[in-house]
Symmetry: C2
Subunit: 156 residues, 2 copies
């Protein structure tokens, strides 16, 4: 098990683009999301994983991640995610000694961009890149499952 300490931000403009070191397409399927817990299957960089996340407590949450066979992950995405599939391109970059990711969503969440930084402690400091927008860590309306549910509902 790992403890994930992650902060999530909106992004303003394209200033982050020149700093991108590597970009990877990923595909997530939400198997369940309730009570702050989330079970997710992910394809990323040729790997498939099954992840259980606990509810957030402050900035931290439990994360249990296991590699699984690609055929299992494919079947879960096709049959057991009830259409709650997220596609995004994850861009990796560095800013003043810190690793950042900028996720640009496609598919149902097209238009959405979030930046995230993973920290070693809740109180850890970091330099804000100039393209960083408002922090939305733990903000209900910016939870990807919530946005996805709203867009699925809007499609009817």
């Amino acid at each position: 098990m790992a403890t994930e300490i992650e902060r999530k931000f909106l992004v303003t403009g394209d200033g982050w683009k020149p700093a991108v070191l590597r970009s990877v397409a990923l595909r997530d399927g939400l198997i369940s999301e309730a009570g702050g817990r989330k079970v997710r299957v992910r394809f990323y960089d040729g790997q498939a994983t099954l992840t259980v996340k606990g509810p957030r407590s402050g900035l931290s949450r439990d994360e249990f991640e296991y590699p699984i066979p690609a055929a299992d992950a494919r079947r879960m995405l096709e049959r057991h995610c009830a259409g709650r599939i997220l596609e995004k391109t994850r861009h990796h970059l560095r800013h003043e000694g810190r690793d950042w990711t900028v996720d640009v969503y496609g598919g149902l969440l097209a238009g959405i961009v979030f930046a995230e930084i993973e920290l070693e402690a809740e109180e850890a400091g970091f330099a804000r890149p100039p393209w960083l927008g408002r922090e939305v860590t733990g903000v209900e309306e910016y939870r990807q499952g919530r946005i996805l549910a709203a867009r699925l509902a809007a499609r009817g």
Copy 2:
């Protein structure tokens, strides 16, 4: 991935007890259960597993099961199952060439006993042991998650 074809029955009387070959205590935690899908962590016979089950289709359902570290399973049970923990003793027995399990629940589900047989095909035949009661495969009111939710609600 495996396809699980399982039939579930009530049990009448104690006639099954002399046929028991092996009995193992197990502990299940329900991480989520929605739309017929279930995510479960289990301790069984010194092993810990994380299991995703798909919704039932006829008598069959998809089952994805992975071994996980015992420390992870313990933490999931303690922190991420919201009290939905099932304790049971699983008795293994044979009847006319078929393997059966009889699960005797403890804890919150004390008093409940189910017999199950796993089949190689939906149409596979089997001999009914004399102690076998009514079939409850797929019957909503006999789903363990449902019974557990009702008992948790009754406790207030």
